[in-house]
């Protein structure tokens, strides 16, 4: 029934600012950008998993998290930190499962890095 593919959609206030963050700071490739309709999409680190953005008058920060897997969380934080990404709080440990680092995009949508400690 399903085919490979997941898209996460966010409402955003400023498309250019959002793309600067996801492309310029996180390093994801912009695969679609249409200013007239206020829409854009970026590839993520995972095949067929993309993030879409749509400009809205009112934006409420999403409470669910989009979590990006990394090989080593400290190294990833250092690299993204050098690009200007600010992390919220310290690295959190879920014993036996993962290490998590939280950051937010320009609209306050929750994002995370995760270093998996044990494969499910």
């Amino acid at each position: 029934m399903y085919r490979s593919g997941v898209t996460v959609w966010y409402s955003v206030a400023n498309l250019e600012q959002t793309l600067e963050f996801y492309s310029g700071k996180l390093g994801f490739e912009v695969i679609f950008h249409d200013s007239s309709s206020g829409m854009a999409m970026v590839n993520t680190n995972t095949k067929d998993c993309v993030i879409g953005f749509s400009v809205a008058e009112a934006v409420e920060p999403a409470t669910s998290s989009t979590v990006f897997e990394v090989l080593n969380i400290e190294d990833a934080m250092k690299q993204l930190g050098a690009n200007g990404v600010s992390f919220v709080g310290e690295v959190e440990h879920v014993p036996g499962m993962a290490k998590l680092a939280t950051f937010v995009d320009p609209d306050g949508h929750n994002l995370m890095l995760a270093e998996t400690l044990a494969e499910l």
Binding site: W9, Y10, S11, S35, S36, S54, E57, A58
Partner: protein
């Protein structure tokens, strides 16, 4: 309220610079602010004010972020009244194309005056009484503009006392009559 009055009221609700273009720019069930703004090339504050007015008039629903199930779905949804007004807006647009003098509905009272003439109300006071709320100055200004543009002719009637009679010019009669029929089918 007679059907004539309902038609005039509907045409009044569509006058103004932005109501008709906004209605026509909306997709089937509504639209999002940014595509609308780009399509209409309108200042955000002006679009915002117009949308707010249309929400107050019951033409649109403004969905909150939590009511929208997907960021690509409309922020503004047409109500039943809004869909009817969009049909009416299409009829007005068609009549403007047929008349061939650009937009007439962007000026307050423009279309209602033409429709009133179509209903064979020809005297200034008669038109004024039918268009509740119009000022003598605006009515006089619009009639003069329509006359200058060749849409309305005027001639003097001697009876019962000397006064101007206003009528649609021949080439305008059919498109305005068709508009009145189209609007009547919606009210």
């Amino acid at each position: 309220m007679s059907q004539e009055e309902r038609v005039l009221r509907l045409s009044r609700e569509l006058t103004g610079q932005w109501t008709l273009p906004i209605l026509l720019a909306l997709e089937g069930n509504g639209g999002r602010f940014t595509p609308l703004q780009n399509k209409l090339n309108i200042a955000p504050s002006r679009l915002s004010a117009n949308l707010k007015k249309m929400v107050e008039d019951g033409l649109l629903l403004h969905l909150s972020p939590s009511e929208r199930r997907h960021p690509l779905l409309p922020e503004y949804v047409l109500t039943e009244k809004g869909r009817l007004h969009r049909e009416a807006a299409r009829a007005v647009q068609l009549s403007e194309e047929r008349i061939g003098h650009g937009r007439l509905s962007d000026k307050m009272w423009g279309m209602p005056i033409l429709l009133t003439l179509n209903f064979n109300h020809t005297r200034f006071q008669e038109i004024r009484q039918l268009l509740d709320g119009i000022t003598p100055r605006i009515l006089s200004l619009r009639l003069q503009q329509f006359h200058d543009d060749g849409l309305v002719c005027k001639h003097i009637s001697e009876e019962p006392r000397p006064s101007f009679l206003y009528q649609l010019e021949k080439q305008v009669q059919h498109p305005v009559q068709q508009l009145s029929i189209d609007l009547a089918s919606l009210v």
